[in-house]
């Protein structure tokens, strides 16, 4: 019997203390995929190796399922035991399917308010579900957190955590830590006051709420708070770094990823942009927008914080994932978190203290001149600050940053991060904007386009110790899907022009590709079926911020549409239309060998550092050019 079901039976209701440990252990079972980022460290690494470089070319579709909602499909499937759980974009239907056969077990259809679509900034996406102790946790676009019985599909409780008339929505995948369902909010383009909410998984009661702006009491900054840098020490900085009352409508939403270190008992997450985008209306550093928080999950109290982009000028949210890695840096073992910044820098940060160890550009960056790790501050490029009333031109990276929400994967075998990202620059005109609750609070006319070289996306392998790009595959469109890497040393990702690709994780060489029905912006996952075969699952269905040109009423001839993303995506509809298909792949039965998967009880310790597959380049230098 599998770990999860034992846990579910023994701990059906009252063993909260053991819960986190259980989910932590279960997440290491390579047969399952129990949380969107695969594990609390957010590695997205699968310990399955039935699919190898030698046989991956034979990978074929095993089954598929249509979600029936032709909007952006950004969600990660979860696989718990033999069941797959998947969620659609608005109205956020949930489906439970037999993970091997594709048989539909149940569907849950919430009565999500259609009006919530009008306050969702960038398509009506969701990034996935959470699971713990026999329950599936859904966060709907209209701010409901719902507990669903994983076996029956029956609703157990639902709790409202936000208000669409304040511009609030939810798009992130919740994460369960120690019996608490952690959910942030979206609405950084609507003057929302960002917050992270902890909901009790048993009762649905709200246990704590940590705001991103305002007085320390609301931000849950107290005596435990020990930031590394001096500019983060002081009382009520979430008030004093703003014009009077501007923090109340100052953004700082939380719609990306949460990681958790059970040993340190700390959760980590990134905070979104300040509102409005127009920086002239909010003099000051605008804390704690674009910051990373470390918090105690029991109380929500902050341990440290680090703001990446003080007084953000460009909508450089920092909600991107924080991958928890133990790295040997300059001869010392460091507990780090690696944060691929939206500002274009790959941050390696000491996750105990909040000290920046290194920050290196991984794409074209001219908005800043670098990051001073001594002060923790980036240096804005004065040449890119336009006179009042004039647009700033050729600013790189553009507003979605060098990388947006699409999560990286980390292989403990190659010791490389696999980074799907954008390659975009922009013109940016700040404009006056007034706050009206429930309407956009942006104040910027933006126009994005392909960066130098004419391509718009890239999937790169990055060595966080050597601080170099080892290989890179250019993509015509932004690489807006997440990445997966497996023990077979294969990295998987999808493209907006409808390819799902498998590449050699050591050098980026393409090994296999599949033509999907619609562009891919989802999160690939891997699991083992009842039949002993290794499966790879991904959603197809273009959308998200860059994809609305192809799935909604957006005019490709008006460049400033979709908060400026139209300019960069004008030709997308000539490559794909909307879709909503779950695609599940496996090797043919006669090719699939019995898996060498580790036993499900406990995952092996991370493999010792492997010899580098090849000498990394000294400078970031893509090895491949153009599309294959």
């Amino acid at each position: 019997m599998k770990t999860w079901s034992i846990a579910a039976l023994l701990c059906f209701l009252p063993c909260a203390a053991a819960t986190a440990q259980d989910l932590n252990e279960t997440s290491k079972d390579p047969k399952q995929w129990v949380m969107a980022p695969r594990d609390y460290a957010n590695t997205r690494y699968s310990d399955l190796d039935q699919i190898t470089k030698d046989n991956v070319a034979k990978l074929q579709l095993a089954w598929s399922f249509s979600l029936g909602i032709p909007k952006g499909q950004e969600a990660a499937p979860l696989i718990v035991g033999d069941t797959m759980f998947i969620v659609s974009p608005f109205p956020n239907k949930v489906f439970a399917l037999d993970a091997t056969s594709g048989d539909l077990k149940w569907a849950y259809v919430p009565a999500t308010d259609p009006a919530s679509q009008g306050v969702a900034c960038c398509d009506v996406v969701t990034r996935g579900l959470a699971y713990d102790r026999g329950r599936v946790f859904l966060a709907t676009l209209d701010n409901h957190v719902v507990a669903i019985d994983a076996n029956t599909g029956q609703e157990v409780w639902n709790t409202k955590i936000g208000d669409i008339n304040l511009g609030e929505t939810v798009t992130m995948a919740p994460l369960v830590v120690k019996g608490k369902v952690l959910v942030g909010d979206s609405g950084g383009e609507l003057g929302v006051r960002g917050k992270l909410t902890a909901v009790d998984e048993g009762s649905g009661k709200i246990l704590w709420r940590a705001f991103s702006t305002g007085p320390d009491q609301d931000v849950l900054i107290g005596s435990e708070f020990k930031p590394f840098y001096d500019q983060f020490k002081g009382k009520d900085l979430g008030v004093s770094s703003w014009p009077p009352d501007a923090w109340k409508i100052g953004g700082g939403t939380i719609w990306g990823w949460i990681s958790y270190d059970p040993q340190l008992n700390l959760i980590y997450y990134g905070v979104g942009n300040p509102g409005p985008w127009n920086p002239n209306q909010r003099p000051g550093d605008n804390l704690w927008t674009t910051a990373i928080f470390a918090r105690n999950p029991d109380t929500g109290q902050a341990r440290w914080a680090y703001q990446l982009n003080p007084h953000d000028l460009w909508d450089h949210d920092e909600i991107n994932e924080n991958v928890l890695l133990d790295l040997n840096i300059d001869g010392k073992d460091r507990k780090t978190l690696v944060h691929p910044g939206r500002n274009g820098y790959m941050y390696v940060i000491d996750r105990e203290s909040g000290e920046v160890i290194s920050a290196d550009a991984y794409d074209t960056v001219n908005a800043y001149l670098g990051v001073d790790v001594k002060t923790g501050r980036p240096t804005p490029n004065p040449a890119k600050i336009a006179p009042l009333g004039k647009p700033a031109q050729d600013v790189c990276p553009a507003s979605p940053g060098a990388k947006d929400w699409q999560p990286v994967a980390w292989s403990p075998r190659t010791r490389l991060l696999y980074v799907p990202h954008q390659h975009l620059c922009m013109n940016y005109q700040a404009t006056e904007v007034g706050y009206i609750a429930g309407t956009p609070y942006v104040g910027a006319t933006v126009d994005m386009y392909a960066g130098p070289g004419g391509y718009r996306g890239e999937v790169a392998a990055w060595d966080p110790v050597k601080r170099t790009k080892v290989w890179a595959n250019k993509e015509n469109f932004p690489a807006w899907s997440g990445a997966l890497v497996t023990k077979g040393d294969i990295a998987f990702y999808g493209t907006m022009d409808r390819w799902f690709k498998a590449v050699d994780a050591t050098n980026g060489k393409e090994l296999w590709r599949f033509r999907a029905g619609s562009g891919i912006i989802g999160q690939p996952v891997s699991f083992q079926g009842k039949d002993g075969r290794q499966y790879i699952a991904i959603l197809s269905g273009v959308g998200g911020w860059p994809g609305v040109v192809a799935n909604a009423e957006v005019d490709p001839r008006v460049r400033n549409g979709a908060l400026g993303f139209t300019g960069a995506m004008q030709d997308l509809a000539a490559h794909t239309a909307a879709g909503s298909d779950l695609l599940v792949f496996a090797l043919p039965s006669d090719v699939a060998q019995p898996s060498q998967a580790a036993p499900s009880q406990a995952a092996p310790p991370p493999a010792p550092p492997q010899p580098q597959p090849q000498p990394p380049a000294r400078q970031p230098r893509p090895r491949r050019h153009g599309r294959p």
């Binding site: 259609p114 009006a115 919530s116 679509q117 009008g118 306050v119 969702a120 900034c121 960038c122 383009e189 647009p391 031109q393 050729d394 620059c425 013109n427 940016y428 005109q429 404009t431 006056e432 904007v433 007034g434 706050y435 009206i436 429930g438 309407t439 956009p440 609070y441 942006v442 006319t445 933006v446 126009d447 386009y449 392909a450 004419g454 718009r456 609305v548 909604a552 009423e553 957006v554 005019d555 490709p556 001839r557 008006v558 460049r559 400033n560 549409g561 979709a562 908060l563 993303f565 139209t566 300019g567 960069a568 995506m569 004008q570 030709d571 997308l572 509809a573 000539a574």
Partner: protein, 196 residues
């Protein structure tokens, strides 16, 4: 009304605009039920299906259609009330549908556009009747009609590597209530031709 006036004067609009909206409508300013010469706006259909083939479509004109400044005022309102945040500069679309083409989900007639703004629509269009005075909405109707592409004799549009062939000069360089008067070759996601 009071909320709208407050917003105008505190945050947004030029003083002249604030004055115009702050007080009671002046003698010449049309009220919501007046423009149809007694025909109620409530009878304006949003559908093109009429049971029994009996159309109830009162011919209600925009009472400001002869006002040469209405389009510009509408553009100011479009920005001041954050319509631009959803529908984008020049109505290119994003959170809300594009207004720059000639496709109309809820009807292209002035009274239909008026009602869409005043009542809102279920899939995300907010209901503005509680916040905006009727003449501010009619100005928005003037502007929305001004930025829409002219109707063509073609039923549809082609999307291909060579179509569309033009784009508007982007709004970071030119601000105009008639953006279709300034176009340049389609850039296919590359930097726009205009640079200043």
């Amino acid at each position: 009304m009071r909320q709208a006036a407050l917003l105008f004067s505190l945050l947004l609009a030029p003083a002249a605009l604030a004055q115009q909206h702050a007080g009671q409508p002046s003698a010449g300013t049309p009220r919501i039920h007046e423009p149809g010469n007694g025909q109620p706006l409530a009878n304006v259909p949003i559908s093109n299906l009429y049971p029994g083939n009996v159309a109830a479509s009162p011919d209600i004109q925009n009472p400001l259609h002869n006002d040469p400044e209405s389009v510009q005022r509408g553009m100011n309102n479009f920005i001041a009330f954050n319509c631009v945040g959803c529908h984008a500069p020049n109505g290119g679309g994003g959170m809300g549908p594009s207004l720059s083409d000639n496709k109309w989900i809820y009807g292209s007639k002035p009274a239909q556009i008026y009602l869409t703004i005043a009542q809102g629509r279920p899939n995300g269009m907010p209901a503005w009747a509680g916040m905006l005075p009727s003449d501010a909405i009619w100005d928005l109707v003037s502007y929305v009609q001004s930025i829409a592409e002219k109707p063509s004799d073609k039923l549809g549009k082609t999307i291909s590597p060579t179509s569309p062939s033009i784009e508007q000069v982007p709004a970071e360089f030119v601000s105009s209530p008639t953006p279709w008067r300034m176009t340049e070759p389609f850039s296919s996601g590359r930097q726009p031709g205009t640079k200043k």
